[in-house]
Symmetry: none
Subunit: 229 residues, 2 copies
DNA sequence: GGAAAAATACTCCGTTTGGGTGATTTATTA
DNA sequence: TAATAAATCACCCAAACGGAGTATTTTTCC
């Protein structure tokens, strides 16, 4: 855990399209001596522009990023920024609590995920935690995150190795996923497992939902990476 | 988010083998009126016994569970408790930060995961959050959790040596194959690499020929198996 | 300089996929 | 027993894909 020069101010940027909210946040963060607001932006495009134009000593350490933005979304913005500026930590800041956005945010490299009703000093601690290698996450969001890696409880497997199956795919689904990984088409799979092509398709759609992907290629990559097969 | 009868005291139990630590924690939590300590235990066995013998009005809402315990571990204890008392929330409380224990804790049904150096009022907020459907997690732990669901970011390996690639894919083809593995569509890839979608398609067809496959899924599997990326 | 390889762009066409919706049957378990 | 979850089958539609062919421009290397 490499804490980044304690004692130095944390350079913060705010990306938020809602004027009043942005100003209020700016105002509140102003009370904290340990923070230095380097810029605010009201859109993803502006934010990216600002970062590119920032002199090194004004480069933000952490960006508080609204997800809902006019034009490109906060998620897309994060993705683009992380491509070039890997070292900037980005905390998603949103009113939304849905799984998809959370998952996408994580995929594109967001470090934290806070709901907008988070108390201001919680926000400030989060900014610090992020600099120290942590990932501040609103508890209600954390529970969803846990849901993504935990499998709903079932049979007793307390002893020996827990036999970890990421995403809780049913046996039928795993069987089909294996065929998908083998590069077979739905029709081919159907013949292989003696099911109608429609059933195969339904299974695959359910697999996608559970794995949070939307194509065979992505499913294959994830499955191999997580050793599902 | 079903908050459980706000206004009612939260019944808490502490499971911790270290005497001084347990007493100190007990003492500290005593200052909070909104909490009611129903019991403490110094081992998993004792804890389970206590829960089974608890009268309904003394049943804990939340248990702060140390992971390192003499006899059965906090994880095993959690597992056994959750089997019978699904409604009890359990927060793992530990000095350990390793992935395995975190993962196991989640698998057996722990709701939160705090490090022992967490400030006391953070602990108290966590107890409340848990009752409101949240999952309080120490930020440094949360980052590990995120690592479990995120895709590894590509590092820029500035090519110095020729780097042998199975199948002799041209650099352009490898670049495109990487995108295919990321689950992108031809159009998305085209935008990413600034080429027309038709060109991308041509490349992909050539990749298929060289790899002797005829679908994305198959290409992804082969590429990952042979470490092309 | 000239041949070969790679990269680029485009068309036509039929097939496959992914997403949405809905329905029935069989376990399982609360 | 009632509620839930898993597995099965079905249809529609728009978008994406894969196969075949053609053609120009760059690069590379002998």
């Amino acid at each position: 855990m490499e804490s980044k020069e304690l004692g130095k101010k944390i350079r913060v940027a705010i990306v938020e399209d809602h004027d009043i909210f942005r100003k209020r946040l700016t105002e509140l963060l102003g009370f904290y001596d340990e923070l230095e607001l380097v810029f605010t932006a009201d859109s993803g495009e502006t934010c990216i522009k600002q970062v590119f134009e920032s002199e090194p000593e004004k480069m933000p350490d952490v960006i508080l990023m609204d997800i809902e933005l006019p034009g490109i979304s906060g998620i897309e913005t994060t993705f683009q920024l992380k491509e070039k500026f890997e070292e900037i930590d980005i905390i998603m800041f949103t009113v939304f609590e849905d799984d998809e956005r959370l998952f996408e945010s994580i995929q594109v490299g967001a470090t934290g995920y806070l709901l907008k009703d988070t108390a201001i000093d919680e926000v400030v601690s989060s900014l610090k935690e992020v600099r120290e290698g942590g990932s501040p996450i609103t508890p209600s969001i954390a529970r969803k995150l846990i849901g993504m890696v935990s499998k709903p409880k079932k049979e007793n497997s307390s002893k020996s190795e827990p036999e970890v199956v990421p995403f809780d795919l049913s046996p039928a689904e795993i069987r089909i996923l294996e065929q998908v990984i083998d590069g077979k088409s739905n029709k081919e799979i159907a013949e292989e497992v003696f099911l109608s092509p429609w059933t195969v398709k339904t299974h695959i759609k359910n697999i996608y939902k559970k794995m949070h992907v939307n194509s065979r290629a992505a499913a294959v990559r994830l499955a191999l990476k997580r050793d599902i097969v």
